[in-house]
Amino acid sequence: MAAKIPDLTPQSRQLEEALLTVDRVGLVALFAECTKSYSPLQVFEQVIGPALTRIGDAWERGEVALSEVYMASRLCEELVDSVAWPANSVRGDLPPIGLAVFEDYHMLGKRIVYAFLRAAGLEVADYGRAVADEVFEKVRGDGVQILLLSTLMLRSALRVRDLRSRFDAEGLDVKIIVGGAPYRFDPQLWQEVGADAMGRNGPDAIACVEAVVQRL
């Protein structure tokens, strides 16, 4: 008989409240309590993940601001980094994942997505800001199979198409997940540039990773 899955919704709601009010003391206490009683994966999947998802969804509805999403993701990243997780707490079923800001200096979106992915137990190679040649070489060198790209300007969003062509020409099976303002305002743009998915926010990025893994 399968083990009963504990309902951690109340803890997740408490965590969400602490994140939005930047209650660091309450957050640390709640997190310590959770990690004492439940496995790291349970805390990732049932406490932190749902809280961040609700905050991300609230931003989509205009109910919270990007600065709150950013602070929530940063606090979660700090929590995750504050403990020595056992090796089996990291998702071992995923191929190498890379993340970069594509041809821009605006790092906020990438930083939020990175924090969300880390808080969900995903190992991600953070390439920071990178132009097309750098991204290509990193992906090839690290054997990355899932690449998340954050863009701010329409021009750099369109340049993803060139990167896609280059991967295809080299026979590299890389799934590209894009995000950023141009893709949010033009919902078909991600398909136009040959991306495999588009994430509207941090939680969406996690869902996109899960979805493209099925297609590898």
Binding site: V22, G62, V64, A65, L66, S67, E68, Y70, M71, E103, D104, Y105, H106, M107, L108, R111, M153, L154, R155, S156, L158, A181, P182, F185, D186, Q188, L189
Partner: protein, 349 residues
């Protein structure tokens, strides 16, 4: 179609006075298309103020819209503060690396002198020449990045949010420095010939910071700064929401507010009616794909939502039309605005 009876300036002033002019004014915030007109690269185009003058005049004639855009590119203000920009063949020059590397750097930061900063002087030179060309017939739009939003380029968005939330004394110091620069830069543009100043303040949008945080930070900055700018101002959120802070923006004394597609335009207009004019709300990112029918239906919808009673300027929400938007789409937009924007808008019930 009835022809225009007012000059672009008369039309714009009437609508800013919340009266119905001959038709809804149309502002196309065109920057890069001037380079196309002159057959120059974008870097060549912005290297010489005379190119921008020629480009803007050709765009005014070609599209028949209602403003001259005396704005080069946003990264220019970062250049003034000692930073760099990256030029591309097919997009706006983009701000390069931040100039504030650690919050403590703010203590040694000195605002640029407008009169001693070549990139700013180029803009002023262009605006002066444009003014001598169009006189009082066409409004010339100057632009400043708000003191509250400039740090996104000065230090990076994430580090700026950290500063705002965690180091208030350095945040206040940076605001004081930026305010001095912003006021001087705006007033220099007005003296050079700009009719009004767009105050780009995307960080102030509730999309980026909650209203309460804005009231504690960006709003007092805007109150102080706009009060010292010697001409009409338009507060623009570069596609961010504005609905929940309209009353606060009205308090700053701004004459115009930029609306987003994320807000309901008719609700924005209702909240602004007779107090502040509305600018919006076409999405230039989507314009790349517009057919003639799409351009017409979008223009009609915007005018129907916000045109009645004046106080409305049809424009884009981002503050810049991308290089990739075809000329034909721009022609279609202005054509539709001239057809459907003719007052008294009896068709729009």
């Amino acid at each position: 179609m009835t022809s225009d009876t007012l000059t672009p300036m008369q039309r714009t002033l009437a609508t800013l006075g919340h009266r119905e002019p001959d038709r809804v004014p149309v502002f196309l915030p065109l920057t890069l298309h001037g380079a196309k007109e002159l057959g120059l690269s974008i870097e060549q185009y912005f290297a010489e103020p005379g190119n921008v003058v020629e480009g803007q005049l050709r765009l005014l004639t070609k599209y028949g819209h209602d403003c001259i855009y005396g704005f080069f590119f946003a990264g220019l203000e970062l250049m003034a503060w000692g930073g760099g920009v990256m030029f591309f063949d097919d997009g706006p020059p983009n701000a390069a690396a931040p100039v504030i590397h650690r919050p403590e750097d703010i203590l040694d930061l000195v605002p640029p002198e407008v009169a001693e900063t070549p990139c700013l002087l180029d803009v002023l030179s262009a605006q002066r020449m444009l003014k001598s060309e169009v006189g009082d017939d066409v409004p010339i739009i100057g632009v400043v990045i708000s003191p509250f939003s400039l740090p996104v380029m000065q230090m990076g968005f994430d580090h700026y949010l950290d500063l705002m939330l965690e180091t208030p004394h350095l945040f206040e110091r940076l605001m004081a420095l930026n305010e001095e620069f912003c006021v001087a830069w705006a007033n220099a543009q007005l003296e050079a010939g700009a009719t009004a100043i767009v105050y780009f303040d995307p960080v102030a949008s509730p999309t980026i910071v909650p209203r309460q945080r804005y009231l504690e930070t960006g709003h007092p900055v805007a109150m102080r700064t706009l009060a010292r700018i010697s001409g009409p101002t338009a507060v623009h959120f570069a596609s961010g929401r504005c609905m929940s802070i309209i009353g606060d923006v009205i308090d700053t004394g701004a004459a115009v507010i930029g609306a987003s597609t994320l807000d309901d335009l008719s609700s924005v207009k209702d909240a602004c009616r007779t107090k502040v004019a509305v600018l919006g709300n076409m999405d230039a990112i989507q314009m790349r794909h517009w057919s003639q029918e799409a351009a017409e239906s979008t223009v009609k919808a915007s005018i129907a939502a916000a045109g009645k009673g004046g106080g409305f300027i049809l424009s884009d929400i981002h503050g810049e039309i991308p290089w990739q938007v075809p000329d034909e789409v721009l022609v279609d937009i202005v054509s539709a605005a001239k057809r459907w924007g003719r007052y008294p808008l009896d068709w729009a019930h």
